[in-house]
Amino acid sequence: MREVDARGRSCPEPVIMTKRALKESDEIDVLVDNRASLENVQRFGRAMKKNVSAKEEGNGWRIEIRR
């Protein structure tokens, strides 16, 4: 499982990091720390026809993107 740490990154970097990671791996976790990124990454994952879920973790969220 690949983990993408996008905490502290400004828009649209978390989405671009997710996009890059999805090229190399089908299932990834993305860590984000603000709600705009949470929404953007989830929206992007769904647009890629993935199963997306998110849970709070620490000071932010862990977004699980699955096949």
Partner: protein, 358 residues
């Protein structure tokens, strides 16, 4: 959830478009119900940072936007003090975004409002804006990043909104300390309470919806996502309908309110704004919202814009309505594009190396 996001954006856009027309009816300059660049420029003048007599007024809309975003983000838990993502570079980028905007005579938001008023110069500017965003996206797709922001203390996050309140309170209590235009765009404004209320409402809605004038076009380029562009379209439609109702719509290039028809410079000015906005992660409006949410980096960008606005008038870089930019303004736009391209190139090459190293 996706529908809800689109809903929020559409409602926010329609509201901003409508309230912008209303603010013009109440006294703001034409096609300038809201203009982040023009209003920051007026604030710079009011605070004696420049002395162009026609553009001096402490625009309450800007104060309202920052405070609206601050208040709603504290309430909803979106207030996240953070900083450290290249604040000095962001200051410089903000500076040049302002120069580009003042050569065109409007931020991306006013560009849409001008379009909705029938000002075709804004269409030329839109093409430039799209081109600038496209260039920015090439860098982003290749790894451009201003770096990670870290957490900051709550007092650091609240400092910028607090400073805004302080300035506004001093303005209300001791208006004689500030400069007020007696003629020109700076002299035209809605009543303070209406401007402040409109700013607060826009700040709240834009924070909740993540509305961004640059983000919509950027997301189409980068990830074929058409969510954020909805806000852009909604503002246009509401303002267009509003202008038709109030009789403020007049189509053409010549004699449009607070504008000029020097196509090349409208285009290049907005190339600079588009490129800079992508590098900053959002348009000038979005920078105000993020500064309200506690981002020290966006606060640095806003201060860069304030400084840029002062420089634009002290060094004759801003365009004059009607006649367009002088030689200084033209040079500044070219220099700005070159500097932003240099920053973007250097950062991208370095980030790519780091990424390849893993």
């Amino acid at each position: 959830m996706e529908l809800r996001e689109k809903h929020k954006l559409a409602v926010t856009g329609l509201f901003i478009g409508a309230i912008s027309v209303l603010l013009v009816v109440l006294g703001n300059p034409k096609n300038m119900g809201f203009c982040i660049a023009c209003f920051i420029r007026d604030i710079a003048g009011s605070m004696h940072l420049h002395t162009a007599p026609i553009v001096e007024y402490m625009r309450p809309e800007i104060i309202g936007i920052i405070l609206g975003s601050f208040a709603i983000s504290v309430i909803t838990g979106d207030f996240r003090p953070r900083s450290g993502s290249s604040p000095v570079l962001r200051f410089i980028i903000g500076f040049f975004v302002m120069i580009g905007a003042l050569v065109f005579l409007g931020c991306p938001l006013r560009m849409v409002l001008r379009l909705a008023g029938g000002d075709l110069n804004a269409f030329v500017a839109l093409l430039g804006f799209i081109a600038g965003i496209g260039i920015g996206c090439i860098f982003i797709a290749n790894g451009f990043s201003l770096g990670r922001a870290g957490g900051a203390t709550r007092i650091e996050g609240a400092a910028f909104p607090a400073a805004t309140v302080f300035v506004f309170v001093v303005f209300i209590a001791f208006p004689s300390l500030f400069l007020f235009s007696e003629s020109g765009p700076g002299s035209m404004h809605a009543p303070i309470a209406a401007s402040l209320a409109a700013g607060l409402a826009v700040g709240i809605l834009a924070q909740r919806s993540r509305l961004c004038m640059a983000g919509g076009i950027r997301d189409i380029f980068l990830i074929r996502d058409f969510t954020l562009i909805l806000g852009f379209i909604a503002i246009f439609l509401a303002a267009l309908i509003g202008n038709l109702i109030t009789g403020s719509f007049s189509i053409g290039f010549a004699d449009q309110p607070v504008s000029h028809d020097k196509h090349l410079w409208n285009f290049l000015g907005m190339v600079l704004v588009g490129l800079g906005s992508v590098m900053l992660g959002g348009c000038p409006l979005r920078q105000l919202i993020l500064a309200g949410e506690g981002s020290g980096d966006s606060a640095a960008a806003v201060l860069g814009m304030l400084f840029g606005a002062a420089a634009a008038h002290n060094f004759s870089l801003a365009s004059s309505a009607g006649t367009g930019p002088g030689v200084n303004g033209k040079a500044a736009v070219i220099i700005g594009i070159v500097i932003l391209l240099a920053i973007a190139s250097i950062v991208t090459v370095k980030e790519r190396r780091n990424y390849e190293r893993g």
